[in-house]
Assembly symmetry: C2
Homo-oligomer: 380 residues x 2
């Protein structure tokens, strides 16, 4: 297992047994070939993982047989139906039984698998996850959290929500702060995460009224939940070292994430143009190959592939629809790391105790504060 | 005048006389020194511009005297007050008389100058512009439009609103489409601009209800206003060659713009790191210097410095607060190009005729369609 991406030592220690990952082989832009190749990469780098793979039996058997030794680690669940990128979430919830996506989620629901991974339609995956896994007690709107390359020591900032729900009112944004803080502590090893609230300016009078209210709620919750609230941040702070977790509604988060990704891609293309411009620049590119490859790795979205659905009874990792085998392997790696950190149980405890704390008053705060510490306490 | 940035040949032809630009010397992060140096750069590249410069008389006289021949082309308007970045727009509107920003806008109001340029507080500048210049007949919410490097032949896409108003309902978004289309036609020389509406997905069922309504309104207006409506676009399409003008509310636009700018900056830093990593990579950087400089120019925000306020009785160009002399000169160049293209009068005609067209029915459409064609018709 690579320890480059996620630095928390707790994450690299095995939980003792093997982890079972439920993988949707269908629905990605590159089809099941890329997904099965990603499983093979994952299997090669970590012998402790077993896979339940969902899709058309015959096709999956054929693809898995192409990778030596892989079939022994995979259980195939036959599912003929495929959720496409254009399917409406509401239709998938009504008619999706029999699809590979439904089957993938159900393996987590029945506790056969500890975590689910899919490259499919995000909206459908979230809708199915909500219906089949149900929301954690105390959570109103689940969120999708993703990692963004940053100037921080841990190498990443967490952004949420990046598209689970286009709406979020002030109490929802507070929950995003609690969930993002737990993810940052357990996933990135940041003891006391700094939370920022996305707005169009850092001054207190800027932005929407509901953001002012959310800021007040988050600020009040900071001491109990053991995070620091740093106030408003701006779009330019995605990679900032002054913040660890950036909270926003899913409409804003989706557009900010894609604007950032699109710009990184644009600059990468401009860079390629610049280096193919003359004989001299081509020669320079050859000389600088190692450095350029290092740069490419730093801005490669496949390296941080995987949005995590937060706020459900079970962990679901959404891989990019266009993920290749490396991207799929990265998403599985993230899924396994979250399982091994005991993140899901800690998050559930955090949200439940925070809800209790709000109902029962501040005397509950000592218990709540210990809920998701990254130490070897009992899980739930 | 450089013709690299804006390719419409109409823009590089002189209007016959000199253009008077009203420049706020105060309120930028780098103070009046950078602004006066920017004016000097602008004066050196274009002999047809005169400047009314606003700020403390003695200081401005001293700074202008440092540039040979500049004082003959500048009129100083003494203004002791300065609007700071932290001043609230509402306060500036009440108490801002006597500030350099107020005085700068008033030179356009009294028609002494054709266009205003300021590096100051965006919110205050928009509030003052609205109060002193007033909105164009038919416009509900003015917008700030900016240029974004793109893969299009014209080299840029237009984004609006990037921060004039955090709200926009469907009819406002329609007006942004009309204004952005006029700016694109007259400013970038695109005969029939393609308009996209920013959303979290391109499918018709995605996103907020008000965006669906806005899409219908924009689609209906497309034929009369001579643009093409291409439907929803996403954050990743800022630089896309499938669209020329991207329409969104000012909250979304501000965050998308800053997320893109911040990412370009991050990748630039990573690139610098990559090339200072080893002796070999440093040598490669030396060899590739010309290509790297070309890349830097392509992603340099100073090159496209200047958000344009659309929907007012007068043109105001907002330069970046952190603009240096090159950035200020670029903002003045954009301001002069807009004046020389007759953009303001064409925009006014477009919005007024569009409003008439909506009131009077489709028989007005032939007139409306001719309102902002980039030909040498009479202005207004």
């Amino acid at each position: 297992m690579s320890s480059v991406e996620l630095k928390n030592p707790a994450l690299t220690s095995s939980s003792g047994g093997s982890v079972v990952v439920s993988v949707d082989a269908m629905g990605g832009d590159r089809g099941p070939t890329a997904v099965i190749s990603g499983i093979a990469e994952s299997a090669a780098e970590n012998p402790d993982i077993r896979y339940i793979v969902h899709g058309p039996q015959a096709e999956l058997e054929r693809l898995i047989a192409q990778h030596s030794g892989l079939s022994a680690r995979c259980t195939i669940r036959d599912a003929a139906g495929v959720v496409t990128m254009s399917d409406k979430p509401s239709q998938v919830v009504r008619n999706g039984d029999g699809t590979s996506m439904w089957s993938t989620i159900d393996s987590v629901r029945t506790h056969e698998a500890s975590v689910a991974v899919s490259c499919g339609n995000t909206g459908a995956l979230m809708a199915l996850s909500m219906i089949r896994l149900r929301k954690l007690p105390g959570v109103n709107r689940p969120a999708i959290a993703c990692l963004w390359p940053s100037r921080n020591p841990q190498g990443f900032n967490i952004m949420l929500d990046v598209g689970a729900d286009i709406r979020a009112d002030a109490p929802d944004l507070l929950q995003y702060a609690l969930m993002g803080s737990a993810y940052c502590r357990n996933g990135l090893g940041v003891e006391r995460p700094r939370i920022g609230l996305m707005n169009v300016g850092t001054e207190e009078h800027k932005g929407k009224a509901e953001l002012k209210l959310a800021g007040e709620l988050i600020s009040k919750a900071a001491a109990d939940a053991n995070f620091e609230y740093i106030g408003f941040v701006e779009g330019g702070d995605l990679a900032s070292s002054k913040v660890d977790v950036i909270v926003m509604d899913g409409f804003t988060g989706n557009i900010a994430l894609k604007a950032g990704e699109g710009t990184a891609k644009l600059v990468g293309e401009f860079l390629k143009d610049a280096f193919s411009n003359s004989i001299l620049s081509k020669f320079a590119a050859l000389l600088a190959m190692t450095s350029l490859k290092r740069l490419q790795r730093r801005i490669d979205p496949r390296r941080v592939n995987g949005g995590v659905f937060l706020g459900l009874n079970g962990t679901v990792v959404k891989s990019h629809g266009s993920a290749d085998s490396t991207g799929v392997a990265a998403a599985i790696r993230l899924a396994v790391q979250l399982v091994q950190s005991g993140f899901q149980d800690r998050l559930a405890a955090r949200v439940a105790q925070s809800a209790t704390s709000i109902e029962d008053g501040p005397e509950q705060s000592a218990t709540a504060q210990q809920a998701d510490q990254p130490v070897s306490e009992n899980k739930a």
